[in-house]
Amino acid sequence: MTFLDIRNLYAGIGEKEILKGLSLKINAGEVHAVMGPNGAGKSTLSNVIAGNPAYRVTRGEVTFKEKDLLAMTPDMRANEGVFLAFQHPTELPGVSTALFLKTALNAKRKYLGEKELDAVQYMKRLKLRSKALKVTDEMLKRPVNVGFSGGEKKKMETFQMAFLEPDFCILDEMDSGLDVDSLKVVADGINVLRSSTRSFLLITHHHLLLDYIKPDFVHILVDGRIVKSGDQSLALQVEEKGYEEYK
């Protein structure tokens, strides 16, 4: 089944056009990596898919499971199964992590016509996922992302993803600001979620993350377009030669 289908997408911020005719197709169960130099449009791509209203789509089509993604509000997209792990997770002072997670989970269940989880089921699910990602009870008591280190924020993003069980996960620069140990914890957390019914879009500018999470496809994004696609060997070529030859 085709999950994400992007056709000839043009998008940007304000008057500035950043994506210039990008096309990308991701099927169920696939892991795709998009690599590119700074300013190529990697974060724009993830924000446009998630529906950040700061970004403007000028042309092109994006469907998710054959539904028009661009016509949906960000919360609808999330409840349809799209999850964005942010490059810079936002702090929410005064909003407890536990309340935030519960609200998000129940929003999705309501959207899908399922019953809300009761307190016991909720705690069970929370414990299961938090342990694997080394998210402590103390972190869950704090306001969302407030006072978290860079590594803790990334773990929390991965934890939210594991907890909400989306079908399609976008990881925007998941490796930035992570030391090798934290990267391993986060990568393990992502790898256990891999399945034939879930896809991933990894956005990164170097191949280190891809040593831990093996992608099925690698795409090179330069100046708003995908200029080359291949398998993991493409990531290694970039590591050796840089992006110069694609510019």
């Binding site: 999330a78 929410l92 998000a104 929003a107």
Partner: protein, 206 residues
């Protein structure tokens, strides 16, 4: 908000107790070493409260959360006079204003000439939910003594777009997202028991 009238709470022995605004004199005099603390939840009519710290060691804590919507126009006046030395006052005011409403906050601190070693603070924060909502904050400090500590601050702005998008991106609908953010904004002033007011007030908005 038409169906909820202003709520006035006065703290007694550490607990907020409802007080009928009409029976509370709009001028409160605080005596030696006494403390007066109140919280207004202003949903409709204007409020004016004058507090005089009459004798040494008197103190007051005045708080208000105001809501403005539709074409409402209202004001909040807090007027504190330090009439004796070693008195202390704090004003904390937070507002949420939507639609075409206009809200005004006038906060005064007067320190009389022989009221030395006083401390007066005033803090106002407000969120605008529309481009047409208006807030006017007017602090007035009138200080005739020279050995005092006095400060005031005011900040008004919209809801943080990044925070809102973060919540939406997790599947939380816009109304619930606003409710979470605005409740968080009021967390240091509004007791849990009154969080329902934020929810009910938002119900008719957005």
């Amino acid at each position: 908000m038409k169906n909820i009238s202003n709520i006035c709470l006065v703290k007694k022995n550490g607990v907020y107790e409802p007080a009928d605004f009409k029976t509370v004199p709009s001028v409160i005099e605080v005596r030696k070493n006494e403390h007066f603390e109140c919280l207004f939840i202003q949903t409709n009519e204007s409020i004016a409260l004058k507090v005089v710290l009459k004798e040494e060691g008197a103190s007051c804590d005045l708080k208000c959360v105001y809501f403005g919507a539709e074409s409402e126009q209202k004001s909040l006046i807090f007027d504190v006079t330090h009439a004796a030395g070693k008195t202390k006052s704090a004003q904390l005011v937070k507002g949420i204003v939507a639609d075409r409403a206009k809200c005004a906050f006038y906060g005064s601190i007067h320190i009389l000439s022989d009221a030395q070693k006083c401390e007066g603070t005033q803090n106002h924060r407000a969120v605008l939910l529309s481009d047409t909502a208006q807030i006017q904050a007017t602090p007035e400090l009138e200080i005739f003594a020279d050995d005092v500590i006095c400060s005031h601050g005011s900040a008004v702005g919209p809801v943080d777009k990044n925070q809102l998008f973060y919540l939406l991106s997790r599947g939380i609908d816009e109304k619930t997202a606003y409710q979470l953010l605005l409740t968080a904004f009021l967390q240091d002033i509004l007791p849990d028991k009154y969080h329902f007011i934020v929810r009910e007030w938002l119900h008719d908005r957005l």
